[in-house]
Symmetry: C2
Subunit: 247 residues, 2 copies
C-alpha cells in the first residue's frame, strides 16, 4: 500500500465544512468521491483537521492509503479532472506508511482576511469579512502581541469545545494590508474550535475601540468565552498551511 | 430632474452581461430593479458600454435621471441594500443634466488576468484565465508595444462587430505579476467587441511561442480576424475604469 499526501486548496463557500457528513456536500466526501472514480475503491481520506462550513483552505493536507499505481506526478491532474472546480489538488507526495495528516501535524498557519473598504469589494466578498468601521491597526498589533505565546485559550474558543486541555502556543501574528484588504496571519502549534475567528473578531473589536489592547491578558486569564470579542464570520478564514517535521 | 452618476463593481459570473434582456439576469436589469424598489419608478440606466456575459467590472459607470430627493451621500448604501451581493455601488455623484455615461466617455481601462500556476488557483478561478503553459513575458511585452497607438483593429475584434470604423487608439498596455497571477492592463480611447479578449489571447499565444512579437504589425495590417490569436475567455476580463473629461 502506498501512502499519498496531497496539498489541497478549496473555496469553502459551497461546502458544509471539511468533514464528511451524510447527505451534505463536504470537502472530505468530495475528495473520497473523486478517489473512488479514479481508483474504483472507496478510500478514507485523513485531513489535518476539520474546517468549519464556509472556511477556505489554501494548504489543507490529507493522506490516504491506496494500491493504485498512478505515478506520483500524475496524481494532481488525475484528481483535478475528477473534482469540481472549487477543490484543487496542488501537490502530491508519497510519504512513509505511518504518516498521518492529523497526528503528525506540528503546527498550522491560518489567514483571516478583512475588507476595510467603505462598501464591500465584490471580488473579495466570498473570502473577506467586510468591516465598515475604521480600525486602528497599531492597537490591533499591540493586542496581538498579548496573544502570542503559550496560553490557556478557553476565552478564545467555542464554549462547546470538547477538549480539556485548552493550552495552545501561538508562534506569531502578522498583519499585512493590500489596498483595502487586511490579512492577519496566525501561526501556532494547534488551534481550538473557532479560535482564529474569535481572535480575529476580538482584534476587530480592539481596532474599533470596544476593547483595549491591555485588556487581552485579563480576557485570557478569565477563561470565559463571553469576555472576548465577537466570532468573526467563517468566510474570512483560510487554512493557509499545515506544518510537519522535516522528514 | 437630477442626473446621478454611479460607479459600479460587479462579479460578472452569474450575469448574462450588462445589457438588459428579457427573462435574463443582467446587470442593467438588476440595477433598474433596485432603482424601482428604491424610488417606485422604472428608470432607464445608461451604462458606459456593454460588457459581455461573464465579464466583470470594478469601475463601470452608469447614469440615470430621477426626481428622487435621496441625499447624494445616501445613494450608495440605499442602492446596495436593494442589490444582490454580486453588484456593488462604490460611489455616487450628481452630474450636469446632459452628462451621458456612454457618449461622454473618452477612454476606458480594462484589465485581463491570467493564472499562470500549474493548477488553477481556486480563489482566482472566477476572475482569471488559467493558462498552464510557460509564458515568456518579455516576448509578450514586445508584442504589446506593437499594439499601442492608433490602428485599425479589424483583426482584433469579433468578425460580426457591427461598426464600420475600426480604428481605435491604445494608450498603453502594462504588465504586472503578483505571485502566479499576471495582470495585463490596457488603456485606450475605445474598444471594439471582444477586442481586449483577442489581444489577451494573442499575447498568450506570443508568450507560448505560437506567434512572434514581430508578426503583430502584419496581423494588424491584414484586417482579418483569423490572423490573430484565440479569444481569451470572458471571466478573465474586468472593466477597470471609464475615463471622462475633467468637468
Amino acid at each position: 500500500m502506498r501512502n499519498i499526501k496531497l496539498t489541497i486548496a478549496y473555496d469553502g463557500t459551497d461546502f458544509h465544512g471539511f468533514q464528511a457528513q451524510p447527505q451534505l456536500r463536504t470537502v472530505q466526501g468530495t475528495l473520497e468521491d473523486a478517489l473512488e472514480r479514479l481508483t474504483g475503491a472507496r478510500i478514507q481520506v485523513n485531513g489535518s483537521g476539520r474546517t468549519d462550513a464556509g472556511v477556505h483552505a489554501w494548504g489543507q493536507i490529507v493522506n490516504f492509503h491506496t494500491d493504485s499505481r498512478i505515478p506520483l506526478e500524475k496524481w494532481p491532474i488525475a484528481m483535478n479532472v475528477n473534482l469540481p472546480n472549487d477543490v484543487i489538488v496542488r501537490q502530491a507526495e508519497e510519504v512513509p506508511p505511518a504518516f498521518h495528516a492529523r497526528f503528525d501535524a506540528t503546527g498550522k498557519v491560518y489567514r483571516y482576511q478583512m475588507d476595510l473598504g467603505t462598501y464591500p469589494d465584490v471580488f473579495a466578498r466570498r473570502y473577506a469579512w467586510h468591516v465598515p468601521y475604521r480600525l486602528n491597526l497599531s492597537r490591533m498589533q499591540k493586542a496581538a502581541e498579548h496573544l502570542v505565546g503559550s496560553h490557556d485559550f478557553t476565552s478564545f474558543c467555542n464554549a462547546a469545545t470538547p477538549v480539556d486541555d485548552k493550552v495552545r502556543e501561538i508562534h506569531g501574528i502578522s498583519f499585512e494590508t493590500r489596498a483595502h484588504l487586511l490579512q492577519i496571519t496566525v501561526t501556532g502549534s494547534g488551534f481550538l474550535w473557532n479560535m482564529v475567528r474569535i481572535m480575529a473578531g476580538t482584534l476587530a473589536d480592539v481596532g474599533r475601540g470596544r476593547i483595549e489592547p491591555e485588556e487581552i491578558p485579563e480576557i485570557l486569564a478569565a477563561k470565559d468565552r463571553t469576555k472576548a470579542g465577537v466570532t468573526a464570520p467563517a468566510h474570512g478564514l483560510t487554512l493557509f498551511e499545515v506544518i510537519y517535521p522535516k522528514v
